[in-house]
Symmetry: C2
Subunit: 368 residues, 2 copies
């Protein structure tokens, strides 16, 4: 692995869409008991089920601390590769690299600076030094050359269509606790350089109470070029109502990098869902880590699914809305099997399936 001084855009690299072909998927093993209840055991069981569901479709690697290696190896299917990798928590979408490809069939990665979703001004825990090393370690194991940025970004803050368009939110990318000194135009310039995009579509805010500070990957994502899934509610009293409706209006006004209007597919949110007293009681409180309390509303969204080769792995939350979400996803991904998994334990930790996965694209040589 070399660390390159140039930029991906200059070198002809682009971030492919998640729905393009993968070589595999990375995850990290949940462990910290100040975020995951009951010694992280319920979360570990859910992570193992998600890893197994993805491993049926593409190779999965799970990084785990030395202390948890034996436990993770025993709980994960034999087909899942388990490697030692220390981290501060298990959100590889955000701490991991953003993989890029070029037309010559090469793969590289961007190692963004990571500051735990806001550093000392609103970040979720301290320290985050191990998380900030995760991308480099993954790139070394994958043998992919690396671009390191001083620009602060988490992978969950962006989505791309693979054809030049990036979808993101102002709430997150313009938050002074990420890149306080950069203007909107300067942030766009970083996205153009490091993702190889030519068009950035800005939504306003992320999902209500999303503790990442507005990640787009709970709110909306491309499901194919020209098509966006958007979390939705028809309840005017819900604070999510205005967020989703504003996003809808912005998406309908937008044009993507190819000049297309976007079809927007609404997926009604679950719940609202809340943390129970029993769930909150299982978490070790710790100064410096964002506390979780009984009655906290959980930022649940069906949009936080993972698109694997031939398969979509999507979160299930409640009987009322699950079936409709699965129906919509099956319509949006006609070539893939849509598998739903109950993932409340991941939600309790602050995210969902998309937040705990990171795809490794399979580069293809483009024949003209």
């Amino acid at each position: 692995m070399r660390t390159l001084k140039s930029t991906p855009a200059r070198d002809g690299f682009r971030m492919p869409a998640e729905f393009e072909r993968h070589a595999g998927c990375w995850m990290l093993w949940p462990e910290r008991t100040d975020n995951w209840r009951d010694g992280a055991k319920p979360a570990q069981a859910t992570f193992a089920a998600i890893a197994a569901a993805i491993a049926d479709a593409e190779p999965v690697t799970v990084g785990v601390s030395a202390a948890q290696y034996q436990n993770a190896r025993a709980r994960l299917p034999e087909a899942v590769r388990v490697v030692e990798m220390s981290s501060n928590d298990a959100w590889v979408r955000d701490s991991g690299p953003t993989f890029l490809v070029d037309a010559r069939g090469r793969r590289r990665g961007v190692d963004w600076t990571f500051n735990a979703w806001g550093g000392l001004e609103g970040g979720l825990y301290f320290p985050w030094d191990r998380d900030d090393e995760v991308a480099r370690k993954i790139l070394e194991i994958e043998g992919s050359d690396r671009y390191r940025t001083s620009f602060v970004l988490e992978g969950g803050a962006i989505h791309v269509d693979g054809e030049g368009t990036c979808l993101t939110t102002e709430e997150c990318l313009l938050n002074p606790n990420r890149n306080g000194d950069l203007s909107k135009a300067q942030v766009e310039e970083q996205l153009r350089r490091y993702l190889g995009v030519t068009c950035v579509i800005w939504l306003d805010r992320g999902v209500h109470l999303d503790e990442t500070g507005g990640h787009v990957d709970e709110l909306a994502c491309f499901t194919s070029p020209g098509h966006v899934a958007l979390t939705w509610t028809d309840d005017r009293r819900d604070p999510q109502y205005e967020i989703s409706h504003d996003a809808y209006r912005r998406l309908r006004r937008a044009r993507d990098a190819r000049g297309r209007a976007l079809a927007v597919h609404k997926i009604h949110q679950p719940g609202p869902l809340y943390m129970t007293a029993e769930e909150a009681a299982g978490i070790d409180p710790r100064p410096g880590t964002r506390p979780r309390k009984a009655g906290d509303r959980l930022p649940a969204s069906y949009v936080n699914f993972y698109v694997a080769n031939g398969r979509v792995v999507a979160p299930l939350y409640d009987r009322r809305w699950d079936a409709a979400a699965l129906r919509t996803l099956r319509r949006l991904f006609p070539g893939r099997e849509v598998v739903g998994l109950p993932t409340r334990e991941v939600l309790l930790g602050g995210g969902n399936i998309h937040c705990i996965t990171q795809q490794v694209p399979l580069p293809a040589v483009r024949r003209r």
Copy 2:
């Protein structure tokens, strides 16, 4: 990585000779202060120099604990891949996998049971559970299927010529603290099954005071089919004299798997060398770890070199004997650059370059 129930011999796999083509080399980072003096810093500098010398010839990966990751990453050249991997010490020749290839171009590995050179009956430290996981972890990262044995073996206890012959010692392989219940014939059967050899040449004892209990890789090795390098002394008062002369007689009587007599190339040992008071004073004593004392004779041998692609990396010890050893190695490896490195710091820890390296062969599809 799958764990296979069959045996390599049955599946058509063999251990290639070290002088066959490599895909790369693994090392582990020295850390434990009860074995490596002065907080392991002198040993780390030497390991880094060895890794750099090998990395000029073939890809090198160094496994390191989470605690030492940043230090190792900073001290090793950028071209060396650094991955987290916990271990009890840095002897990857012994704790790592023995890689195998077949004629169809596939690579697999043997994960021998490891008991720290003798377990509770003469082993060198306790515990050794992390070491025993090293082979599996390396095989997972390399994506090589695995044979796991209950048979206890260290990679330094064997050498092969890649054409069906294994060289080993009775002192080590028949020591009851490895596989106490197995007869010599049964041990040979394990070597045939797991190395794909048909002929085992037994030497008697390893180098004088070698704490591994007689590893062949300090005493003798194949340098090409039909050719063996042997550590030597002409000093009749040295306990090594009888060991080397006995080995010489056995080698001269032996026939290899192809029926060839062996040419034996003597390389005069350095020294004798002894641990100084200053060196011993830098080591943290710890119950359960073999103590090192001022005045201890060190089991130094020039035979403990590593054969990389196009390059041999060999230990240097003293002015009196170094030049002759390098001359012999240059004669024995005419197609390779022979690079000598001062490695006293590795010797102080109980081994040398061969003990801290493990080659990953590059399988070739054999055309008939």
